[in-house]
Amino acid sequence: MPSVNIPDEHHILRYAKRRDLRTVVDTDENEIVIGLARDAFKLRDDETTLSVTWIEYFQGDFSEQKVGAVKAFRPTFTSSAKPPYPGAFGVGLVGDTKLAADSYGHKIRILHEPDNNPGHSAVHRIPRDHDDLFEKLATEVFADFFLNSEIS
């Protein structure tokens, strides 16, 4: 079955572990999450593509689709599936992701490649070492985020 290009106007979800989150300490001395950090978009040594989940693959309005995407993702990353549900998810537009990479000379492709997660998709041709691009993705493209713990 050929891989499907996800439309530019659709959204993808990227999971970030606790150590890949950007946090600050508020006036109550609590450490709060303000977004994803650069290394949330870095390939691991054993990866050739960046894994994301296609949100619009799932049914319902956008909020329901996000919940569907989270619940489909969780079994593939088991520590995210147990209370207190650590980490967070960044939400980005496919088109903005491609534009960001293109601005640094990288033509990426984002393809639907279902596995145990039916919404699993892969970002192809993302560079292995490009801190500026990863910082842009974290700060701008995936600036919209929510905590894993917000989804029961």
């Binding site: 950007r22 600050v24 910082e135």
Partner: protein
Amino acid sequence: MSGSVLLKQVREAILAPPTIFPWSDDKASIGPGGIANLELQQMPVGFNLAHIPATPHFQSGVGQFACGTPKSIARPLEEEVYDVLADAKIKTRLIGNHIPRDWQVRLFGQLDRLHDIEEWELGDRPMRKESYHTFLSVILSVRPSVRPGLGLSHKGDLLGTWGEPHDRITLEFMPSARLRWTIASTSDGQLVRSAGDAPASDLEKYLAPFDPAHWWHRSAER
């Protein structure tokens, strides 16, 4: 003596509360070579390294504090994490009279939570000791009243962020007393980002145009 028994004694020594003062007016004297070469005679009152027995694992001088096995032998990740956290807490306690007590306690909690390896993936590294040494040097220099939010790069460099979502600075504390910074702030609805890297000793010079005090201290304290 087994490594696990030694580490237990180190942990008990760390938990023995030293005498702690509020931020001192004196600059911390950490000697040449930085935090890593902190000499025993510069310890603050109350911290007694005599709790820790002399063994072949230890050499003179705290900077040579070694809790692990020879590098040629791969260690379990849990042991590495314990070693790194012990080193960080000992180094922090050794300059404890320059860092407020509540700061230390909360910082240790942050470091512990950051090293919850249950959700780590293959290749995730614990904090590099040299990165934490750079962090301590910067903290002693800048003396922020606000603690940073903490993260870890894949390589194990500590990341500290101050500010708020639309106006923040992130410092990446690298070995060899180097820093990388990224700044993101919103001005007239536009996101402006800046980045750079330099020796930690030059941090204030390069950040001066951004008025970094507004990140290090809450407005009521300035």
